[in-house]
Amino acid sequence: MESNLLQTEGAEAVADVAGPASDAAATSETQGEKVSLWKKFKNSFFARNFRKNWTYLLFLIPAVAVTFIFAYIPMYGLLIAFQDFMPGDNIWDGRWVGFDNFTKFFSDPMFWPYMGNTFLLCILGFIIGFPLPIIVAVMLHTTKNKKIAKFLQTVFNGPHFISLVVLVGMLYLFFGRYGLVNNIIESMGGERYSFFLSEGAFRPMYILSSNWQDFGWSSIIYLAALSGVDQAQHEAAQIDGASRFQRILHVDLPAIMPIISIMLIMSIGGLMGVGYEKVLLMQTEGNMGVSEIIATYVYKQGIQRGNAGYATAIGLFNSVINLVLLIIANTTSKRFSENSLF
């Protein structure tokens, strides 16, 4: 009984969703035709499917609710980028200021330095971090002893599970003024160097430690693709006298190209989305000149200083750049190689 009731309710909801066509029909047609239209709709494939399968929607409710609250309401909250918003204000009676927050950021003397820091950190990280996992995957794949390959994979994946706090803590221990690296430098006759208090060391430390942590993990997906390469092609190439290295260049790499392009699109889309959680942990008075990036600036303006509207505008600017980069990368890849994310 009860489920019957729910079903009709559900069907009505569908009628609402069905859109302007049915609305228009309902208002302009006479009563009789309305009923027949309703009947027609009730017997349509869509309505029958809905009656049969609406219970699936119940399974979606928790996930949809959480996503709506913590992902979609914040998107609506982006409106405060156009307001003079202070913590405690209400978004509905906000003081609208148009693009003032954006122009304020663009005319900030630190705008270009922060943009530059963000871009450089990401691009330098990308130049090493993108090819390295592919190279490692190819090397692991060609290892003849599979037990060793498996062992190496276990070793390489390990650092991925170290937390950022611990990773940065290890950096402080190793590169601190009295850490292992400085001990080695001194024992070889060099001078102790404050890696964490100098601007020059920040980017290399950041990028190398990120790669140390993730090269193995990122190579898994390429390894999977490599193990799917057609063996017949390898045999044919071998009979033609191709060396192992030539087979990598002409059989393996072309075969995993689709995966490489997908990963490339994704990393270009994330170019400006560098991990600020790690940057925040590595910031010191000494390296602020190169380590202050847009995302950390957002954190400081918004959370620490309470300039919520201004900080949101900067964050929005950053994610729009990311989105545009992603779309450009995706369209370009689609045009030239038929590989695309969406």
Binding site: Y76, L152, G169, A225, I303
Partner: protein, 311 residues
């Protein structure tokens, strides 16, 4: 192509066929293999040495570590770092908090994700396309830090465990991974048979789908649990009360405190102890993850593979 990738697991032994038809190795090939092995061995060293050094240093005397006498093996074995670590109440409060945050978060996340993934994997889910887009958008665009903070704050969750546990419960990446698992792993015939037998969808999910989902449950639990175990940022912005701090936030204060230069004798002593404590806390905080890691790493890798499948 991707389907084949899933069938031959990354680490599965090479097909027998390859062995049978081995063409004689040329000198060039030998050079290639030698270079490969050398590089791989170097990489393994680069990965392992820092970890090994932390372990060794945590067992050595603080003076020896500080004076640079420790490289490969412990020098003047000394457990005072561990003793000091066990005295620190904040570390253990953090540990307890992290354990229960992680446990509750993982259970909720896995349940929400599995249920939604199961629904999304069914072709006859009403408005399926809409729901797919609904979740996909969150992978590429979001409100950013401040609006997110405002939502949590408006819900009255500031300085409560809810702020740590609820916000990240459903990740679109994990959701789609589980959806792909159901699509490739659960034959339609099972579902149809159960429906013919008159099982309703809740019954079907609990008594048929969940039991065959062990692999994906393992992967999801591990992903969510590790994510929560290792995170510090949400706790940093949402919590004030140090009794609620998770382990990572406590560690942040211990591990990333600014450098100090040696002054008088007592300061020197303090610095030595502080330094030793850092090595010990790295070990103590990462121990659970690393004890589990060798046993569960194949599930992690599987997750990446399933996630890479497109439908």
């Amino acid at each position: 192509m991707e389907n084949i990738a899933l069938q031959n697991e990354v680490t599965s032994p090479a097909p027998v066929k390859q062995r049978r038809k081995r063409v004689k190795e040329t000198a060039g090939d030998r050079v290639y293999y030698i270079i490969t092995y050398v590089i791989l061995a170097l990489l393994a060293l680069i990965v392992l040495y820092p970890l090994w050094f932390v372990i060794v240093a945590s067992f050595s005397s603080a003076e020896a570590v500080f004076a640079g006498k420790v490289y490969l093996w412990p020098v003047d074995i000394d457990f005072s770092g561990y003793a000091k670590c066990f005295e620190r109440a904040d570390i253990w409060i953090g540990y307890a908090n992290t354990i229960w945050y992680t446990a509750v978060y993982t259970v909720i996340s896995v349940l929400f994700t599995l249920a939604a993934a199961w629904a999304l994997s069914r072709k006859d889910l009403p408005f399926r396309k809409f729901w797919m887009i609904f979740f996909t958008i969150t992978m590429f665009f979001g409100g950013g830090l401040i609006p997110f903070y405002n939502v949590v704050s408006d819900l009255g969750m500031l300085n409560t465990p809810f702020a740590i546990i609820l916000p990240g419960t459903v990740s679109a990446w994990n959701l789609f991974m589980a959806k792909t698992f159901f699509q490739t792993g659960v034959p339609d015939s099972i579902v149809e048979a159960a429906e013919l037998d008159g099982a309703n969808r809740a019954r079907l999910f609990v008594s048929i789908i969940l039991p065959i989902s062990a692999p994906i449950i393992a992967v999801l639990s591990l992903y969510y649990a590790i994510g929560q175990w290792n995170s510090y940022f949400n706790a940093m912005i949402f919590l004030n009360d140090s009794n609620l701090y998770p382990l990572q936030l406590v560690l942040r204060d211990i591990l990333t405190s600014a450098e100090s230069s040696a002054g008088g004798d007592s300061m020197y002593e303090n610095m030595l102890l502080a330094n030793q404590l850092k090595y010990v806390t790295v070990i103590v905080s990462s121990l659970p993850v690393f004890c589990l890691y060798p046993f569960v790493q194949k599930y992690f890798a599987q997750g990446v593979l399933v996630g890479s499948l497109k439908d």
